[in-house]
Amino acid sequence: MSEVSLLAAQDVTKHFDTRDGFGRHVVVRAVENVTLRLHSGRIAALVGESGSGKTTLARLLAQFYPVTSGEILLRGEPVKGAGKDFYSDVQLVFQDPFASLNSLRRVDHNLRRALKLHGHPAEEEHIRELLEKVNLTPAADFARKLPHELSGGQRQRVAIARALAVRPAVLLGDEPISMLDVSIRLDVLNLLAQLRDEEGLALLYITHDIASARYVSDEIYVMYAGQMVEGGPAESVIQDPKHPYTRLLVDSSPDPGRATFASTVPAGEPPSLVDPPPGCRFHPRCPVAKAECTAEFPPRVDFPDGTWTNCWLYVEDE
């Protein structure tokens, strides 16, 4: 892509040093040579199963911990350390809105603090403006409430308003709707779309629910066991998945429109990241695995519909 991305992970790897049950030193290979780019006015969804490295990648993007190798780029420049400057550009929204707000303080205090810390005026009108931006109206009523007086969806909106208080260019959402009641999830997704369209934010939407990824995002990235296996325009990735894992994921997802229950999913589970399979980490479960798959991670192959995948299946077709 020619345009400069707002926030990007360039060939990023993250290994965690830890100890196993017997106290022996082990390395968890959580993220392996992954590239992801976020652009203003676009939502990129990052999908995959638990343990696929989605959250680790988001935390690398947010500078929660340093990369093992590779680079995090903000407006094309390598990020040096995580200071206030960085966080006035990049903000996070977490999964659990019950844990992410100060429960002893009213909504206006939660918001005012973020405004003040980043040197923005923090009068009543500014707080009202923020609450209106996330559709919490009448704003004056919500400003006076304590977090426990709000529903999960309303709390998540306050968390988003607080992130917006610093006027960021990038918003990273880690499963922002998975703890909310079903009937109010769409409202929060619609809010993310509104922020993209009206504020021009660059958004990362991490989820395991690919139907919601299709609903809200412009691009979809698919991770499996720490490797990025496919990406591209949302509709192309869902309707015409290239990588066998993406296909498995799409076929497994609930779809009430499906005529009959598809139960032909092969057995198998993601591998351990302490001792992952060599090459493509999906090969032990892959129905079309070849000799190459066990030897080396495949190069990227681009398709006319804008998608790309890392899969040996397509390499010889070049």
Partner: protein, 330 residues
């Protein structure tokens, strides 16, 4: 006419506290047919999990069943009423007639016992004379049914993945060939691929063994694919029951429609969806009329005053004043 296995009549469950009782399930009435999968869908606080625990008599204080009847019609013998049975009498039914699979297999399995010991426990409870060899054979057979290699019987729960534990729970539930398996969000804690594997096992085993399932979840889109019939709960009451296809194709209750439209489609053309405005009701403070009235896009004067009854409309049942006229014409 298909045989009825479970007949639930006007079941009430209260959470008792110093500040007064909160009714989590109100006059819940439904029938489960033999061999059927009935889905129960609702949001948190709708009373769906409370209902399940009441059915199998696993409620703990402060939750108390305060009214109604649950009739189980076993293959052999007389119908049994569950609500009034003593714990001792219930024990004869547990595992053998009625089994339970809960959301968190890690909490349901014994963390310090190998799987083999836990299977042996269940198998021995109901056949004291069973031989060691028969226990081993049966355990291997049960694990194999859910796609777990029999040598895994020697594993402890913490040595298995979440998906494997959940499948082991299902195998354990089927150990004594029950007629009814009650499942409370059994796949919520696992990933979609594992979820599909587990549901595939449930469907295949149901076909082979013929048990009935009550399957509770908040994921209506999943139920649409899995269940034969679906009951929708809101504010502690069943607001609609119907065949899955009918419920998806032409939901009768505005809440059912709203819930259906809260799940973005995977393949159908993408349009902007809105979910349901407002928030789920507070059971401590339910409106006098229909509990959904404050959020309902089609409400009218009656809705705030009179609570609609669950009555038969067409092939299903619905509790909504919109259908009063239709019913009057029948």
């Amino acid at each position: 006419m298909t045989e009825t296995l479970l007949d639930v009549r006007a079941l009430n469950v209260d959470y008792v506290s110093a500040a007064g009782a909160v009714r989590a399930c109100s006059e819940v009435t439904f029938q489960l047919r033999r061999g059927e999968i009935l889905g129960v869908a609702g949001e948190s606080g709708s009373g769906k999990s409370t209902l399940i625990m009441a059915l199998v008599r696993l409620l703990r204080p402060p939750a108390v069943t305060t009214g109604g009847e649950v009739w189980l019609h076993p293959r052999e013998g007389e119908p049994v009423e569950l609500v009034r049975r003593s714990e001792k009498q219930l024990r004869a039914l547990r595992w053998r007639s009625v089994a339970v699979v809960l959301q968190s297999a890690m909490d349901a399995l014994n963390p310090v016992a190998r799987l083999s010991a836990q299977f042996a426990d269940v198998l021995k409870t109901h056949d004291r004379k069973i031989t060691k060899q028969r226990v081993a054979e049966r355990t291997a057979e049960l694990l194999d049914m859910v796609g777990i290699s029999p040598d895994r019987a020697r594993s402890y729960p913490h040595e298995m993945s979440g998906g494997m534990r959940q499948r082991a729970m299902i195998a354990l539930a089927l150990a004594c060939d029950p007629e009814l398996v009650v499942m409370d969000e059994p796949t919520t804690a696992v990933d979609v691929v594992m979820q599909r594997q587990i549901l595939g096992h449930i469907l295949e085993l149901r076909k082979r063994l013929g048990f009935s399932v009550v399957f509770v979840t908040h994921d209506l889109s999943l139920l649409m694919e899995l269940a034969d019939r679906i009951a929708i709960m809101y504010g502690g009451r069943i607001v609609e029951v119907g065949d899955s296809a009918d419920l998806y194709g032409e939901p009768k209750h505005p809440y059912t429609k709203g819930l259906r439209d809260s799940f973005p489609p995977l393949r159908a053309p993408a349009t902007t969806l809105h979910g349901i405005p407002g928030t789920p009701p507070d059971l401590r403070n339910l409106p006098p009329g229909c509990a959904f009235e404050p959020r309902c896009p089609r409400r009218f004067a009656d809705c705030a005053e009179r609570r609609p009854e669950l009555l038969t409309v067409g092939r299903g049942q619905v509790a909504c004043h919109l259908h009063d006229r239709e019913r009057a014409n029948v």
